[in-house]
Structure formats: structure tokens, C-alpha cells
């Protein structure tokens, strides 16, 4: 499917879905899906294209989230600038730790990134004076809504954040799709296939792994910032181990190899728990079972599986 078609479908879905929303609550879920999808797109670049694992990307989400909380509070920085500062900080952090960490492979890389994520969460938890510790802290208002109101456009919080996260998601998907088809994306996919061969054709393997790591860190950071800004409150959970695992699971479930698969995986794993609350005590059980079944029968992920099925019946 062409890049523009994929983007058009995504944009159409984001624009049309609210027509089906029975209540304002659904805007919040939608915004949550988009925010998660943004981080997962980043991971799809790292995992799906460059073939490197990270179990610590919530650490970058944490950096992004707390940048938006701390920037206005301690530095008097505007929340929007804090988001950018957080993204830059995440990128630089990824650059610094990525260089030594990405020499590792497979399990070792997983454990090293895991360590990084836990480190960030611990710093946030323990620097009580700065971050409020485990209780979390309030986040300043972005201020864009007030601006819109002054211009005579009243828009509810849910709708506003649905729109903002949706637009950022489309932007993120557009960038990711461009990377996928660029020489950079091809180089990443090549080193995923064979590092030795990638080097013999002239690809600097270490630098492309690092690029993928930094790009995905920035995605996670922006995702964390948006989460903080729309919730107006943030706790260390955003940087926690469970959030890292959640992000990787979404990536793999949706189909790590494709950008739209990432969005799909994020949507399913964000919405499903909401639906399954009806099952009360069995929620986690059903969720786990679904994931096991998908991984056994559709190891490439949901979206690639579905699109292959459709193509086959289409013939």
C-alpha cells in the first residue's frame, strides 16, 4: 500500500470515528490510543526495521512526561517548549547511552535497556523534592485551548486532546513512513537482515542502530509529554517497567514490521482492557490468552496477517 493511501486511511479514521462516539469519554480513550501509538511507531522503527530490542523505552516516555511537568514548574518554561526540550533531552540521552548499549545484542541488549528504564523510574521516584516522588505531580495547562477560546472557538478538553494527539500521530506516522522508504530505512532493514552483509555493502551498522534508537526515543518522549499534558497529572508509572513492556507488546502484536501495524497494536491493547472490564476478574486472563493466540498463529503480527489474508481472498 502506498504511503499516501496509508496516511489517508489513518486520517479518515481519526476524523470519522468521533461520529460513532456515544459519549465524551470515548474521546479520552481515542487520545490515549493515539498517544500510545506514537510511542509504538517509534518502537516499530527500532524493533521492526533495525531489529533491535528495547525494554526500557518507558524511560524516555518518563523523561518526556516529567519535562512537561518540571519545565513550567521549576524553569518557567512554556509547556510546549518543555515538550520540545524533553524530546531533545531524550534524544541526547539515547545518543549517549545508545553508543555503548547497542554493541550488545539480543538478550543482553534487552537487559541493558531494561536497566536504563528502571534507572529513570527510580530517579523520578526518589527525587521527591523535585518530582513529588511516587505521588506524582500536577502538570501545567498547555494554554492552547484558552487561546482558541479567546478566538471564539470553544472546544471541550476531551475533543481538544483527541484532535491534538490525532494530528501529532498523523505527523509521526508520516515521518516514519518516509523513513521506511528512504535510504536510511533500507539501511536499517538491511542490518536487521544481516549485519555482515550490511557492512560489506558499506552500511555503518553501529551508526544506523544508534539512529533508530534516538528516533524511537524521541517518539516515546513526545508520547510521554502528550500524556502528561492531557492528564494534567503525572506519576512515575509512565516511566515504569510495565509501561515499557506494554509498548513492546503493542509493537509486536500489531506487527513490528509495519507502521500501520504499530497503530493497530496500540489501538487494540489500549481499547481491549476497557472492553474487558465487563469480564471483571477475568480481564487479565483473556488479555493474556489473546496475546498468546496471536503470537502463535500470527507471528508477524495482526495487521500483516490480516492484509495478507485480504490479498489472498482478493485474488
Amino acid at each position: 500500500m502506498s504511503k499516501w493511501l496509508q496516511l489517508a486511511i489513518l486520517a479518515a479514521l481519526i476524523a470519522a470515528l468521533p461520529l460513532l462516539f456515544p459519549s465524551g469519554y470515548y474521546y479520552r480513550i481515542g487520545a490515549l490510543v493515539f498517544v500510545n501509538a506514537l510511542a509504538v511507531i517509534g518502537l516499530a522503527i527500532l524493533i521492526g526495521q533495525a531489529g533491535q530490542i528495547s525494554l526500557g523505552h518507558a524511560g524516555f516516555a518518563g523523561i518526556g512526561a516529567y519535562s512537561c511537568a518540571l519545565g513550567p514548574e521549576w524553569l518557567g518554561l512554556h509547556p510546549a517548549l518543555s515538550l520540545l526540550a524533553g524530546a531533545a533531552l531524550s534524544g541526547v540521552t539515547a545518543l549517549l547511552i545508545g553508543r555503548p548499549i547497542l554493541r550488545l545484542r539480543g538478550y543482553y541488549l534487552a537487559v541493558a535497556t531494561l536497566g536504563f528504564g528502571i534507572l529513570v523510574a527510580m530517579v523520578i521516584q526518589n527525587e521527591r523534592a523535585l518530582t513529588g516522588g511516587p505521588d506524582g505531580m500536577a502538570v501545567a495547562e498547555l494554554g492552547l485551548r484558552d487561546l482558541l477560546r479567546d478566538l471564539g472557538w470553544r472546544i471541550g478538553g476531551g475533543e481538544f486532546w483527541y484532535a491534538v494527539s490525532g494530528i501529532v500521530l498523523i505527523l509521526g506516522a508520516w515521518i516514519a513512513l518516509n523513513i521506511f522508504d528512504s535510504p536510511t530505512g533500507r539501511a536499517m532493514r538491511a542490518l536487521h537482515g544481516s549485519e555482515v552483509a550490511a557492512r560489506t555493502v558499506g552500511i555503518d551498522v553501529a551508526s544506523y542502530k544508534l539512529k533508530a534508537f534516538v528516533i524511537s526515543a524521541v517518539y516515546a518522549s513526545v508520547s510521554g509529554s502528550l500524556l502528561a499534558l492531557q492528564n494534567r497529572y503525572i506519576t512515575p508509572d509512565v516511566a515504569g517497567f510495565l509501561h515499557s513492556i506494554e509498548l513492546v507488546t503493542m509493537t509486536v502484536l500489531g506487527g513490528a514490521g509495519s507502521i500501520m501495524g504499530a497503530v493497530f497494536g496500540a489501538a487494540i491493547l489500549t481499547i481491549l482492557p476497557q472492553v474487558l472490564t465487563a469480564l471483571a476478574d477475568y480481564e487479565q486472563l483473556v488479555l493474556g490468552a489473546i496475546m498468546i493466540v496471536v503470537m502463535i498463529f500470527m507471528p508477524q503480527g495482526l495487521l500483516p496477517y490480516i492484509s495478507r489474508r485480504l490479498r489472498r481472498t482478493g485474488k
Binding site: 535510504p183 532493514r189 560489506t200 555493502v201 558499506g202
Partner: protein
């Protein structure tokens, strides 16, 4: 074109190349034959920069070769690695495009057309994932991909590995055509008979050293080689 002087290399503390000397002149096919574990592949890995060198030096086109592995393709030294190592998850055409990664994109299209002319089956399958190709087709792709870099010297590691005799012959015929067009080739092979039949000069390696070298034609009839490597 390529001179190797006293090349040594270690895996951990164990030295596996004990000072290899070798020379490849422009426009010739030189082959390195030898049994499993003789150090042939290690030698090639040193030349392409994937394996660290612990002693000696390599001179390529008049200058010592010190560039990192990924910088050597741009210098004109391209390896088609052992076990083909094509990018299985990418399409045939993307593989070829990546072969030209280290040079300017001008002329990529016409070079690709040339690859397809050389291996028509690749053109037929150009949009399919390379992982779906047969062993022989993958080998063709590996060679075609290496040529996309427009190398002045091509390093080939066991192109006959796992191929039926007919396919091996086809691959070797291609190498002959390449030489006729002026390509310089260093060919590492276990299939000594085929390699010696094709090459201009040859080196025989054993336990990390060159033990015999000479004109390939003469080595074919050398009794030491006939007994040890040709099995006749």
C-alpha cells in the same frame, strides 16, 4: 591491485592466520583453496574489515587499507560474504539498490539493468522478498549485489557452497565473463577443481598459512594437490 603482507589474525587468544602473503594483480582471478578451517574465510574477513587484523598489512591500489569495514566498499573493495547473506526480508530489487549504497546513485538504474541482463531470473522476481529465492538464485543475487558497488576488486567467499554442479558451473561461467570485462577477483573456494580450472593463479592454505602457490593450471596437475584436494 591488492597485496597482503604477513597478515596475522586471532580469535581471542588463538592465532588463526600466521602471516599470510598474497598478491592479486589487476584483471586476474586469484583463488585461495584449502580444507575447512584452513583460514580462507578468516583471510577474506580480514580483507573486508569484519575480522580484526593483529599483524601484517594489506595494500589496496597503492595505499595501506585501514578503513573501517563499511568504508571499504566505497574504496572499490567489495565482498560477497560466505553463506550469501542476502537481505532476506527485502525485495530482490532493494537488495541490488543496497549494493550501490556506498556510491552515488547515478547510474544505479543502468547497473541494475545490467545485473538483470546477467541473471534474467532476478528480474522476474525483482519485487519478491529475496528470502524466497532458491540457493542458486540467492548466490546470483549476492554476486549481483556486490557488483552494484562497481568494485575494482571483488572478494568472493565460497560461491559454490550448497549448489548443484550445474549451478556452480553457471556461477563460475559468470565469473569468467566478469574477468573478460576486466574485473579483478579474489575467489575463496572449497571446490578446488572448479576454482583451479577457472583461476589464473592460486594459493593453497593449510592451518593458517599459504603452503603452495603458483599458476592455477600447474597446480591442477601438482601431485601434492591432486592427492590432498582433488581426490584423484
Amino acid at each position: 591491485m591488492l597485496t597482503v603482507e604477513g597478515l596475522k589474525s586471532c580469535y581471542g587468544r588463538i592465532e588463526v592466520l600466521h602471516g599470510v602473503d598474497l598478491e592479486v594483480a589487476e584483471g586476474e582471478i586469484v583463488t585461495v583453496v584449502g580444507a575447512n578451517g584452513a583460514g580462507k574465510t578468516t583471510l577474506l574477513r580480514c580483507l573486508s574489515g569484519i575480522q580484526p587484523v593483529s599483524g601484517g598489512r594489506v595494500i589496496f591500489r597503492g595505499a595501506p587499507l585501514t578503513a573501517a569495514a563499511h568504508g571499504r566498499a566505497a574504496l572499490g573493495l567489495t565482498q560477497s560474504p560466505e553463506g550469501r547473506q542476502i537481505f532476506t526480508n527485502l525485495s530482490v530489487e532493494e537488495n541490488l539498490r543496497l549494493g550501490a549504497y556506498s556510491r552515488s546513485s547515478r547510474g544505479v538504474r543502468s547497473d541494475m539493468a545490467e545485473s538483470y541482463a546477467m541473471f534474467p531470473i532476478l528480474e522476474e522476481k525483482r519485487h519478491l522478498p529475496a528470502g524466497g529465492l532458491s540457493g542458486g538464485q540467492q548466490q546470483m543475487l549476492a554476486i549481483a549485489r556486490a557488483l552494484m558497488a562497481r568494485p575494482s576488486c571483488l572478494l568472493l567467499d565460497e560461491p559454490s557452497m550448497g549448489l548443484a554442479p550445474l549451478l556452480t558451473k553457471q556461477i563460475f561461467d559468470t565469473l569468467k565473463t566478469l574477468r573478460d570485462r576486466g574485473m579483478t577477483i579474489l575467489l575463496v573456494e572449497q571446490n578446488a577443481r572448479a576454482a583451479l580450472g577457472l583461476a589464473d593463479r592460486a594459493y593453497v592454505m593449510e592451518t593458517g598459512q599459504v603452503i603452495i602457490s603458483g599458476m592455477a593450471r600447474n597446480l591442477l596437475t601438482d601431485p601434492r594437490i591432486r592427492d590432498a584436494y582433488l581426490g584423484t
